[in-house]
Symmetry: C2
Subunit: 231 residues, 2 copies
């Protein structure tokens, strides 16, 4: 247990561990070792122990980790013991799909509303989610205790939307617009750029040697072994 800065790679893995622990709970297991977890993700067990040790000594030497206890700890660390309210800005195809996607996951995220500037859309309801006027964002965000915003508008509008959202006091934003955004540094911005992901696949296909270069070295001796990608 140290109070260093925690990298985002670590917190991402915590999400993965938590998901797995939830599975293990339903399977009825009581304890799990770092090695047992590691094998599920093709991760190094020391990595897992280190990730966890940033936050406390959750394990028992000679035994491993008590699954329910660890799950509860990770839930708390990730701030998932409280409900999060999500606003989705942009009621186009992507926005409405996301509204539905998040609605189906039985996690602690619920969609509070869709927001758009198009007066024809405002007032409609999609999958139980109302479309509000983006002009009223600040008021509705306050009223409904929205704490997360998802930007699903075309790239040219994204910066403007981000500023409105930040102005309303939202501190966590997920952006799907394929454009770099500037933001005050007390706001956490996470961009998911599908274009980059696609083009990265294209690059791979364009390589004459069609093999997965990332894994070339580590697999030179054990061929055809199935891979689990890292997170």
């Amino acid at each position: 247990m140290k109070s260093e800065k925690i990298s985002e790679l670590t917190t991402n893995r915590l999400s993965v561990y938590l998901r797995c622990l939830n599975d293990l709970v339903t399977e009825g297991a009581k304890t799990v070792s770092s090695d047992g977890l590691a094998k599920r993700f093709h991760l190094n067990s020391a990595q897992i122990r280190k990730d966890l040790a940033y936050f406390g000594e959750f394990g028992v030497r000679g035994v491993g980790y008590y699954i329910e206890n660890l799950r509860d700890q990770l839930t708390k660390i990730l701030g998932l013991e409280k409900e999060h309210r999500v606003a989705i800005i942009g009621a186009g195809r992507l926005g409405t799909a996301l509204a539905d996607y998040y609605g189906f996951t039985q996690t602690n995220f619920s969609v509070a509303g869709l927001f758009d500037a198009d007066s024809k859309k405002i007032g409609q309801t999609i999958g139980g989610v109302e479309i509000f006027d983006i002009k009223n964002f600040a008021d509705i965000a306050k009223r409904d205790k929205i704490d997360v915003a998802v930007i699903a508008v075309p790239a040219p509008f994204a910066q403007n939307v981000l500023e409105q959202v930040a102005e309303a006091g939202i501190k966590a934003v997920m952006n799907f617009a394929p454009t770099p955004l500037r933001v005050e540094n007390d706001v956490k911005l996470k961009t998911v750029d599908l274009t980059i992901s696609l083009e990265s696949l294209s690059y791979f296909l364009a390589q004459p040697n069609g093999s997965n270069s990332k894994n070339l070295k580590s697999n030179s001796n054990r061929r055809r072994i199935k891979q689990v990608e890292k997170v």
Copy 2:
């Protein structure tokens, strides 16, 4: 110019550079320096020079890079001079939204078809895209020269779908199911896990010190400066 292994971080940035170069072309500029590019993304200019130098000596000392030339080079490197045909597996909300997503249609990626196992959906057309029976995937993939698959099915079915797709000879797969997948190492798998991204935002919100820890150090002296996130 060396023939080292290229990291995915580099190829992701190539996508970003290319997008920017396309903008610069429409703005009518002729040349751009690595420093000029760097300022657009808050990247280090040496990073950009290094990324480009992996593939050739595209620059001119004392001048910079000729924009159109560099754009053409990057297009070729990323394999974007040829058309890619995309299959989307899973005709649920997310799958149909992705089929319509302009990001997929705008560039050199076109959606060849949606695939599902639900007989009620098969044969329908959504936004000009037909829904086929997943059972016929291999045949249709061959017929329509599909080279990229997008997995948008619920997590429990993802591994099975991946195997069918790989069996049909697809070498590039983008996965939206929140689950770790195993794949032969000649197939490139890229997972976009929206749950992890959301939980990472939740972690940030749960921190008592609500500031963006990633940037704490580098901004101790220049406060309130707007941030551009890295790719």
